[in-house]
Symmetry: C2
Subunit: 355 residues, 2 copies
């Protein structure tokens, strides 16, 4: 088990080593570790070496000039100038919250960015100001639309954070696929099969091979197949792609730049970098915040107390398992798998940082 | 086959018979028939008698005073005054589009309303103004959250309509469950089983009984079960419920008023009527509309031309089958099932209208 503060400090040093300012490096490290704390291990320190490799390929600018290039009272478009998404996203959320103070809401589409870690972190920034926060991003094309053999969409996550009173806040944060890629990687390591409905093979046929995506297959949109509503997951992933990348001018669909540095950037790009979309709504732009939060507490406690089906202990509220995990891991530390530890050692050696 | 204009006129006469103004009755009839035209038969004239029954129970006000009760530059809350949702929704979209002209976007939460027909109709209103339109609504509690035996959510649909250039627009419109209730009703009539993952029985156990919901069971959130991501469908349905009803002050979760008039209204209501949520974003609040629409055409044609899996003809764009259906049914007419025809005759007799 690794102490999260030490891990965070290590990440900060790595980000400073690639040229980030101390402020940006702290921010990026905090976002990254928040994934490990909340139990989304695939998006935390396990990805640190990936960001460094992108920097080595000159695909990340450690000293970006993140700026608003167009705006109305309730919208903006931001050019992230090839920043780490981990740095661009929270800065854009700050802009959105400031603009929402006046206009009631604010919606910002971002181009020329990179992978931004977990969407939930960014959405949750709005909570302390009694605002609803939303964050989404497009991503490397690994997902086939319903009936498609080709991979045209990313796992394109959506996060929505909603303030509550005494209860823990409502935080939805999910990929628009049946399953996140990280869960497949776990099965690969264990040499286990995937359940039906998670992936298809390179010929577009259903398969339980957990390595199918690596072998040219694809993740499936939420729903899995047409009978179970995969066209709805395809709709959701598409909306995230369009809001994040077509609205901003980033690379969309199959032209989204891949996260892994060994894959080439798309030929004939249709936009710049990866795209994100953020939304912020002031609660009191609709009704008094205290009144709303009382009703949210009522909503949450009603759902929590629903009678569970046989074999299950209780009905969970979105965000509840992650909040519990965060409390536990802050106390007991973060478990890391051997390949992740190896990667961190590689980085420590490379930059001469103590681990 | 029934001519859609004659059907629409019949619906208009029925709405006028319950006391709607000619203008409101025309609007309601147009919204209702748009469902039949687009192939969403469960939400069209098949529901006409249901609205009349709600009016008989004094749950619909045919002469509503639909008004904004709170607003900021980019938001509003509307009290629909027990209006037909079919009338309230398009009027609220008009308010949203007007406010978005100045603020860039507008987001309106509506309380004290009723069933609004198909979400897609309302979202699509924004298209002609080069705006993105969104519409969602909560609904009668027929859906069990993941791990819940109880029904706490409605099928809570989401519609997103996005303008394009030469291609038909992108129109996503889907219930946040594996399947809409209407599809189960079709299976019941045919005496066929439902696929696994659509419903659970009254004890919360998976079942293929297509009548399970009528027998105290529940529809399942998109994903079907935990392994296939039903917690994501549960998140989506919850967000729709909260945006539509907790933000506005309508009845949320299990307190949402049921559509069928024979079920009682919830005891100790937590809000007024049903809730909706609408959003409108001006394209040029982000980038020039022509530029955006060119890229949308490129997005659509790339997805359309994706190589299909074996046994399928092509990859569909959200909204494409509905657009094709509309063209066909405008020409050839709308097919109606015998029980629907019987209901329409009942209404014709009741109000002395020629069918």
């Amino acid at each position: 088990m690794y102490d999260y503060k030490k891990l965070e400090n290590f990440c900060k040093n790595v980000f400073m080593s690639i040229g980030c300012s101390e402020e940006d490096a702290s921010l990026a490290a905090e976002v990254l570790i928040s994934a490990d704390l909340r139990g989304v291990d695939s998006h935390g320190v396990a990805r640190l070496i990936g960001y460094v490799r992108l920097w080595e390929k000159d695909r990340i600018n450690p000293k970006p000039n993140i700026k608003v290039i167009h705006e109305t009272p309730s919208t903006a478009v931001v050019d992230a100038d090839k920043a780490l998404g981990l740095v661009a996203a929270p800065k854009v959320m700050d802009i959105a919250m400031e603009k929402a103070e006046k206009a009631g809401t604010c919606w910002i589409s971002v181009k020329n960015s990179n992978h931004f870690g977990i969407a939930g972190y960014h959405a949750m920034k709005a909570l302390s100001k009694d605002m609803i926060g939303m964050a989404m991003t497009n991503a490397s094309p690994l997902v086939s639309p319903t009936f498609s053999k080709e991979r045209l969409l990313g796992t394109n996550p959506i996060a929505v954070a909603i303030p509550s009173g005494n209860e823990a806040p409502f935080v939805a944060d999910f990929a628009t696929t049946t399953v996140a890629n990280g869960k497949l990687e776990i099965l690969q390591r264990k040499n286990e099969n995937a359940p039906e409905g998670w992936v298809q093979d390179r010929d577009g046929k259903p398969t339980t091979n957990a390595s199918a995506v690596k072998e040219g297959g694809a993740l499936l949109p939420l729903g899995g197949d047409r009978v179970h509503g995969s066209h709805k997951g395809y709709c959701l992933g598409s909306v995230v792609d369009i809001f994040s990348a077509v609205l901003s001018g980033a690379g969309y669909g199959p032209w989204a730049p891949p996260f892994v540095s060994f894959l080439p950037l798309p030929e004939k790009p249709v936009g710049e970098g990866l795209g994100h979309f953020f939304g912020v709504m002031r609660i009191d732009a609709f009704r008094p915040a205290d009144e709303f939060k009382q009703h949210m507490d009522n909503w949450i406690s009603r759902f929590k107390s629903a009678e569970p089906i046989e074999g299950e202990e209780r009905v969970l509220i979105p965000g509840e398992p992650e909040t519990e995990m965060e409390i536990e891991r802050k106390e007991k530390g973060i478990p890391l798998l051997p390949p992740v530890i190896k990667d961190l050692k590689t980085l420590a050696d490379k930059f001469g940082i103590k681990i």
